[in-house]
Amino acid sequence: MGQEEIRGLLPVLELYLSNPLVIMMLEILLIFIKVVVVTLVVFSLPLPLTYMERKVAGHIQVRLGPMRVGPHGILQPLADMIKLFFKEDIIPSKADPWLFRIAPVISMVPVFAVFATIPFGDKITIPFINYEVSMYISDMNVGILYVLAIAGLSVYGIILGGWASNSKYALLGGLRSSAQMISYELALSFACIGVVMIVNSLSLVDIVKAQSGWHWNIFYQPVGFVIFFIAGLAEINRIPFDLPEDEGTLGAGYHSEYSSMRFAFFMLTEYVAMVSMSILAVLLFFGGWNGPSFLPGIIWFVIKVVLCIYFFMWTRFTFPRYRYDQLMSIGWKVLLPLSLLNILITGLIII
């Protein structure tokens, strides 16, 4: 087909696109494509992230990190994945087999469901057919609440996995995780409320749009950001708050008894949770896809998220782990009152 013929086809195409039924079908197809693309991208994200984490760890400890598989060890995550695939899937004989099997899936589903409302950029227009495509699956008007609520559900996988293993270390990991999640979810949500009060909307798209032109929320809500970040660290079980899988005292915590792909699912969950927490931090406090206009918005978004993830890894290899009672007292005695105070002061300033 020559270019002339394509040009000739365009009016026909436009005629088709004006038909409401065709538009509806197209939109459904578009949503389907978006879901598949987002799921695939998120599913493959842990591969580069494990590589990045090991490289960051290596260089912080004046080592090199993985170097042997591929140039600069770049194929290491693939090798790890293949290894995990071919390992034996062991189910302890006294475990609850049904819950043991389903727990990794329960923990995995919510972290993926979170991505339904996360906007990756503003609307873009496809050239030639002038069709507008939004860079999010759905702009839910209670977006941030949805993200927080669904992200909190992944704790079930951890608790049930810990309980179903029928091992005391795994059970202790699950118990710690449940207590920790509940305590820090409060502070996390309260830290978000400050942002919501400033922006006056619960929709993530609106929150980002309100931050255009360097009006980033971190300048207006520094305390809220610090609380959000600390509580976020605790929510995604990373050092200094990785008590549920504290290898010093609990073996490996809730996934002590897991092997093979089920273990990989837990790992996947952890990394995807880290990504979604970084994305949330970027959306709420760092202006989402807003940035100087010499780069497209999506690139700015990715850069910010990667920096945020790097910061998570950086803290992991810098700080020691908190003791469990310290964790609880920080959550309830420091972060919660501070976040309430933050809301109060924000409210007073707005009025």
Partner: protein
Amino acid sequence: MNELSTDNHKNSSSLSIKDLLKKVFFIDLIQGLFITFNYTFTKTITERYPDDEKWIPYKRFRGLHTLNRNKEGKELCVGCELCQKSCPTQCITVIPMEDKTGKGIADRIAYRWEINLLRCMFCGLCEDACPTEALKLGREYELASFSMQRQIRSKEELIKPQPIPVEFEGGVIVRATLEKGDKEIKVKPDLSVQKRWW
């Protein structure tokens, strides 16, 4: 638990304003972050051993045994069996023989000289016992192999010239290449490119 809480209380009452500010602005934590950040960009100390680099030991190192020749190329070993007698683990086998062709420095050389590396503990007593300085413990330390047979090394192999010359000072990391054979895996050093990381 009670003890702990009173402890905390005591600490908080004696907090000076400076300490409080330090705590509020996470000064200590930020300092720690900067330290690790600086380490990220310092040169790494990893020795990429089998792939790129190899450690060459000092001269005093006691590795795989070597049998030496003198300057004229004659075998120094006279088959005196002193090494066999001095060996605490009895891993050396020497069978001497008469030789008039002038292969060795005397009219007696070793017909067989074998060492069982599975039993050897590299104590170096054989080296001390050797009257002609024929036997020395060299600098070869990659002794793993795919078969047990390979662990018994004989004179034919040990008398060959060593990849690392005796005069080489050692104590450095040199560039190397990994070579996979069917009997064993060796890392071949390239002595011309050296580096000292300290």
